[in-house]
């Protein structure tokens, strides 16, 4: 077993166990902590795949930001020292059944496919974040050219040449609206405090 594989198995195990922990524990703070581990080890898997920008994003946004929100949310709303979410036996049974069903469907589907051929050589030596930057800014020369499927009649069509310039701009509008929503939420909360 290579070091690569060993690292992958370690990270995958940590992710899986933590994810189960999130679902199983009834204490909300513990669930948040399990989620932290699950997200962090997912970031590790991204690094392992060579997507260092994505891994860093995962660490900064999810592990660093969203988790703080979750914990703050708990601290804001907790009426007692320990928040417990009691789940009934029937709910357990149903969610377990649904989860297992989905898992088995996905597992069967994924086991069917042939492993991807490894003969696609990396055709560039960019650092991935530069790579993403180039793609985001509309230079499509560096998007990955994965040729997984057949082409009609041997005709070559540059499948992966896609510019993310426009999505980039739409995202900025999204963030604007999100911030306005957050600002409104802030004022609404404050007004209620003033009334009280």
């Amino acid at each position: 077993m290579t070091l690569h594989a060993a690292l992958f198995y370690i990270l995958a195990t940590v992710t899986a166990i933590s994810a189960i922990g999130v679902a199983v524990t009834s204490n909300i703070v513990r669930a948040a902590t399990w989620l932290l581990f699950a997200l962090a080890s997912t970031a590790g898997i991204y690094f392992l795949l060579g997507a260092d920008f994505l891994g860093a994003t995962q660490l900064i946004v999810y592990v660093g930001g969203t988790m703080i929100l979750v914990v703050f949310g708990v601290m804001l709303t907790a009426s007692g020292p320990f928040v417990n979410m009691k789940v009934g036996a029937a709910e357990w049974a149903i969610s377990l059944a649904v989860g297992l069903l989905l898992y088995s469907v996905l597992a069967i589907v994924l086991l069917q496919i042939e492993p991807p051929s490894r003969n696609i050589p990396p055709n560039h030596t960019l650092l991935p974040s530069k790579h993403i930057g180039a793609a985001l800014l509309g230079s499509s020369s560096s998007t990955p050219e994965a040729k997984v499927t057949g082409l009609r009649g041997g005709q070559f069509i540059p499948r992966t040449r896609v510019s993310y310039l426009l999505p980039f701009e739409i995202i900025s509008v999204h963030l604007l609206v999100v911030l306005i929503g957050a600002a409104y939420l802030a004022r609404a909360k404050r007004r209620r405090e003033d009334v009280a």
Binding site: L3, H4, F47, L48, L49, G50, F53, T57, I60, V61, G64, G65, T66, I68, L69, F72, G73, M75, L76, A78, P81, P122, H124, L126, L127, P128, S129, K130, H131, I132, G133, A134, L136, L137, G138, S139, S141, S142, P144, L165, F168, E169, I171, S172, V173, L175, L176, V178, L179, I180, A182, A183, L185, A186, R187, K189, E193
Partner: protein, 129 residues
């Protein structure tokens, strides 16, 4: 673009040191430290102050809003980082035909950030009261 393990050797070493220290320090203390239990030592430590009330108290909602604002601007920043990494590299990462468009695009992106910022400012979101 495959994962090049060598890049991460310092990270591994760092992780080993951190985890090792985290285990070794309490363990050493546990093994060799002398123990004299007094009531004062049993108290929770809050920078030398006498602890007041319960540590598990409700937090002010303001902290939460600051966290949301942080997260929004954090994500804005993340979208700017790849541009920053690409823009200054020499070579043909961004073809010359796209140079102008890219410049104006970044201006537009920054403009929306500024709009959001001014809105939040005018609405008094940054006031701590």
């Amino acid at each position: 673009m495959d994962f090049f393990l060598g890049t991460y050797y310092p990270v591994f070493m760092y992780l080993v040191v951190v985890i090792g220290f985290a285990i070794a320090a309490p363990l050493t203390a546990h093994l060799i430290a002398p123990r004299k239990v007094t009531p004062v030592k049993q108290m929770p430590y809050e920078s030398g102050m006498d602890p007041i009330g319960d540590a598990r108290m409700k937090f002010d909602v303001k902290f939460y809003l600051i966290a949301i604002l942080f997260l929004v601007f954090d994500v804005e920043l993340l979208f700017l980082y790849p541009w920053a990494a690409t823009n200054q590299t020499t070579g043909s990462l961004i073809p010359s035909a796209f140079k102008d468009v890219v410049f104006w695009e970044i201006q537009a992106f920054l403009l929306t950030v500024v709009v959001a910022y001014i809105y939040a400012w005018r609405k008094g979101v940054f006031k701590w009261r």
